[in-house]
Symmetry: C2
Subunit: 125 residues, 2 copies
DNA sequence: CATTTGTTACGAAATCATTCGTAGTTATCT
DNA sequence: AGATAACTACGAATGATTTCGTAACAAATG
């Protein structure tokens, strides 16, 4: 019954929108998607229907337009994706990945400080 | 002439082997690959030939067996992949990603300390 | 009521990624 | 040389993902 097929790239984009904005119609999702990429409406629709079949999404059919919800957990999915990436590109070392992320993408000083604080707590334990 | 097609999952595995071990024959790569996954020899061969066409790899044809080299930079490629992941799953925030990585994957205390040190340096600048 | 607009359903094409069989080449070994 | 082993080349099957057209229907509009 339960399965956890890894979401595809496009599916992730949709999941992220639902995680961020909560339950939404296809049109809502589609409009958010357009901010980032080209896509036809029926393409988005079809994708979401497929995700429904894969149990990545659920939906409420009672109204005129159907309302979809993410059925997979955000943190868990992020974790899985990261794990895979760490394995295939960072030889299994999360630390390597973190340094790469911090090195390449500029974070503000206050963001860096947040991380340091977080680390401090983690190290003390 | 220039192109930067994002490497596929399988291609990343191969790139990572070449980054780690340096220029290698198909057989060498294939053997390393086998430690992790099932794969036929000609499958690996074909993949590497395709990567050659995409200019992800170069090769030296002078010997009996060809020797392949990664033509794309490790850090740069990692960076691109991370960037995309940060965009599609972490709403563009590298910090969110880092915290997720540190939270979900256990790192040893000394590893964490390495990161903190790195951060300290970065913050001072 | 007739038309336009917005929606779902769904098949099927297009594209991309992966896998493998087979043929042919070159080297090695007896 | 002849046989065997290790390669490369490459077409083609398979599989997965993405894209889109078209049909059908429902709601809203004039």
């Amino acid at each position: 019954m339960k399965q956890n097929l890894k979401p595809t790239e496009s599916e992730l984009e949709i999941l992220n929108i639902l995680w961020t904005f909560g339950p939404s119609s296809v049109r809502d999702v589609h409009e958010k998607l357009l901010l980032t990429k080209e896509a036809g409406y029926t393409t988005t629709l079809k994708l979401m229907q497929i995700m429904l079949e894969k149990n990545l999404l659920g939906r409420d059919v009672s109204g005129k337009s159907h309302i979809y919800t993410a059925l997979v957990d955000k943190e868990q999915t992020q974790g899985q994706m990261m794990k895979k990436m760490i394995e295939t590109m960072f030889n299994g070392s999360p630390v390597q990945m973190v340094m790469q992320a911090l090195g390449n993408h500029k974070a503000s000083k206050s963001e860096l400080e947040m991380i340091r604080e977080y680390l401090d707590k983690k190290i003390k334990k």
